[in-house]
């Protein structure tokens, strides 16, 4: 069935360290992947996306890696800051309806 999952429910890192949040997806037909950050009491905020014809994409302090062979997606955050503390969701899309299937979310805690 359709599912997008995250390997760890909570990730705790020291301020200044790099963070890696992992995600596994099951639909090999998915052609678009996206990461969102959700702070407490707010809506999901777009971070970065990647298409299935790419394996890496970089943004400001963030990098998304896509491994289609093992159906794995990761979000790397460089020099993690207290403001990065939030729940991070990956999502995948297959087809042309725009339907996103979300993973369960990983809580990132940044220790000062």
């Amino acid at each position: 069935g359709e599912s997008v999952g995250l390997h760890l429910p909570t990730l705790s890192v020291q301020e200044g360290d790099n963070s890696i949040i992992n995600c596994a997806y099951s639909n090999s037909a998915s052609d678009y992947f996206i990461w969102y950050k959700q702070e407490s009491g707010k809506g999901p905020q777009f971070i970065i996306d990647i298409r299935s014809n790419m394996d890496k994409r970089q943004g400001q302090r963030v990098t998304v890696l896509l491994n289609k062979t093992v159906k794995h997606l990761s979000l790397q955050i460089a020099a993690t800051q207290p403001g990065d503390s939030a729940v991070y969701f990956c999502a995948e899309k297959a087809g042309n309806t725009g339907k996103l299937i979300f993973g369960q979310g990983t809580t990132l805690q940044v220790k000062p």
């Binding site: 959700q38 999901p44 729940v87 309806t97 725009g98």
Partner: protein, 115 residues
Amino acid sequence: DTAVSQTPKYLVTQMGNDKSIKCEQNLGHDTMYWYKQDSKKFLKIMFSYNNKELIINETVPNRFSPKSPDKAHLNLHINSLELGDSAVYFCASSPDGSGGQETQYFGPGTRLLVL
């Protein structure tokens, strides 16, 4: 200016009541969505509309009825509210649902509590 806005932000109501949540986007997007986020933070799509036309209708009870008066608005009406409807409801929009235009932008959410 808020790109995707929802009203109300909080909604507390009794079981059996009928309520509506409104959503507006000023991004000029063609596609709008409703999601439900449960107490475990799981986000699941409910509906999507593209230019006022229903595109996605997940397995949602027919007590939930979306209405899109124009492509900038997608409202959600819920009849005969049940305890299990308590959740956070998010509206989102995207330029389109496909073809490189599918990045979705979310509103702040409506926290619904059914007593």
